[in-house]
């Protein structure tokens, strides 16, 4: 081996070592800063249900779903998020159209049932997640004063693939997609009736 190639190898080796140390140091600094895994979640207080959650998620059926907060829900018969109150009413005066284009918001009568007067009954509203595409129409309709604000959009952790940058976060006009440390508890909604 000539002297030149020995020197070259020495320089290369030093550069390599320097590179490894730099990379390790940078990774260490960053790891120190995060110290935890993080998840994406919708901040319900910033979210305006603009429909971009439906179209922008990398999944063909968005990981964002409408979620009903049962503690807040009024269990109303005339739910503004369930039935389209502007649609044509039937002979009993109940609107026939539904708000959800996917028919993903389901309801069932609960508690003591009065068979004669449907207005006297309570209804439980549950989102069918296999159909919900996160368009947020029901969330908008449930906002006070029409509703209780019990429906909200939420990133479902069991569906979210955790991209290194959330595709919805990039386009969200209200900066409503936030980073939360794991375990990620969604911030509570402050919408009150």
């Amino acid at each position: 081996m000539t002297e030149k190639s020995t020197r070259r190898r020495f320089i290369e080796g030093s550069c390599r070592l320097l590179g490894l140390v730099t990379l390790g140091g940078a990774a260490g600094v960053l790891t120190e800063r995060t110290s935890a895994n993080a998840v994406y979640q919708v901040d319900p207080n910033k979210c305006k249900s603009c429909d971009l959650c439906r179209t922008s998620c990398v999944l063909s059926l968005s990981a964002v779903k409408a979620v009903n907060d049962f503690e807040k829900c009024g269990y109303c018969m005339l739910c503004p998020a369930y039935m389209d109150v502007t649609s044509k009413p039937d002979e009993k005066g109940i609107p026939m159209g539904k708000v959800c284009p996917q028919d993903a918001l389901k309801r069932r009568v609960v508690g003591r049932v009065d068979p004669d007067d449907p207005n006297n009954n309570y209804y439980e509203y549950i989102v069918d997640e296999t159909r919900c595409d996160g368009c947020g129409k029901c969330v908008k309709a449930c906002l006070p004063p029409a509703g209780n604000g019990s429906l909200r959009l939420e990133i479902r952790y069991n569906r979210c693939v955790e991209c290194n940058e959330c595709a919805i976060r990039i386009v969200c006009p209200d900066n409503a997609i936030v980073r939360l440390p794991v375990p990620g508890v969604a911030p509570p909604s402050t919408h009150t009736s």
Binding site: L30, Y157, I170
Partner: protein, 340 residues
């Protein structure tokens, strides 16, 4: 505390003591009414109904979160072994298909080291930004691998590279000067991506204003992501299709001239510890490999570490490979010439 108060009250005359007690009781009753007004109670449903427990699914468990990182590390290790030790093009093809299947179609091209450049930049600029450990690992593992074994990530694990590698049909030779000039585009793109990820664009000239906040350019303009997701805006799908069709005749155009992460790997792999050596043992300088590289990475009959994408195509053109591994070389008849 209450015991202390009642003991203190014993010194007070009996009538005053009763008055105090009544006052305390009234105050307690009034406050309970006030709080009852503000307490939200569920309606009385009658019958036996209980709330469905709110279904908030847990984030993915730790071991699933580390699965991506482990697969990346395993892919890099297997890739290095296949390229440098086993010298197997077929094995590498299998690894490529696996990468397209998992990192491409299953993970939808996301999480990826190329995009992680922007996360890392943002995390360094903005201390409030939470970067996940997975993204950090994805950014640094291939860089470390490049220092040790060259651009194994490009050749083995990157789904974007694998897609272009697989569609390559009939590579045309790009003039070397043009190739080198175009390679500078990577660094222009890298600079733009860093700027937009960390700071965004805010311009104001007179009344004319341009306000583009922080954007992840690399993710937004990734030509292959639309293919992996089988959806996307029309212009992105069109760009993806153009790269695929162009990639049939020009070897891996995105990797060579546009990929910002490829640019980083290219710098680091210049001093890599191991790298692709076309001959299995001693170098012959026979020149039979000169035209075997579809990516223009063979300069002066050696694989150039900075631009070699570790695809293992050149091995088959080496006459020594035939002797060593019993494989049919592209120029098998010429081996006889070498022997004479």
């Amino acid at each position: 505390m209450i015991a202390g108060v009642s003991r203190g009250l014993e010194s007070v005359p009996a009538r005053t003591r009763y008055l105090c007690l009544i006052l305390v009781l009234v105050a307690a009753f009034a406050s309970s009414i006030v709080s009852a007004q503000y307490q939200k109670k569920p309606p009385d449903f009658g019958g036996s109904y209980s709330f469905p427990s709110p279904t908030h699914p847990e984030p993915r468990t730790a071991w699933i979160r580390t699965l991506d990182v482990s697969l990346l590390a395993a892919g890099l290790g297997i890739g290095a072994w296949l390229i440098l030790k086993k010298r197997s093009r077929n094995g590498l093809l299998l690894l490529n298909i696996g990468a397209i299947a998992y990192f491409g179609f299953y993970r939808k091209g996301c999480i990826c080291p190329i995009g992680a450049i922007q996360n890392v930049t943002l995390a360094l600029v903005d201390s409030h930004y939470m970067i996940s450990l997975g993204v950090i690992a994805f950014f640094f593992l291939p860089l470390v691998a490049a220092l040790l074994v060259g651009r194994v990530f490009c050749g083995g694990v990157c789904p974007l590279g694998a897609v272009q590698d697989i569609v390559l049909l009939r590579p045309i030779k790009v003039p070397e000067t043009l190739d080198r000039a175009l390679a500078w585009l990577r660094y222009v793109y890298l600079g733009l991506a860093l700027w937009f990820a960390g700071w965004g664009l805010h311009l104001a000239i007179g009344s004319w204003k341009l306000d583009i906040g922080r954007r992840f350019l690399i993710c937004e303009w990734d030509p292959f992501i639309g293919i992996f997701r089988v959806s996307g805006p029309f212009h992105m799908l069109a760009i993806g299709a153009a790269f695929i069709i162009g990639g049939m005749f020009v070897g891996r155009p995105y990797c060579r001239w546009l990929c910002p992460y490829g640019g980083l790997l290219s710098i680091l792999s210049r001093v890599s510890w191991k790298n692709v050596v076309i001959t299995p043992d001693k170098e012959l300088d026979c020149g039979l490999c000169a035209n075997s590289c579809p990516y223009g990475a063979i300069h002066q009959l050696r694989a150039d570490r900075a631009s070699c994408l570790s695809c293992a195509r050149c091995y088959a053109s080496c006459p020594r490979e035939f002797e060593h591994h019993g494989r049919q070389a592209a120029a098998a008849p010429l081996i006889q010439v070498q022997r004479r």
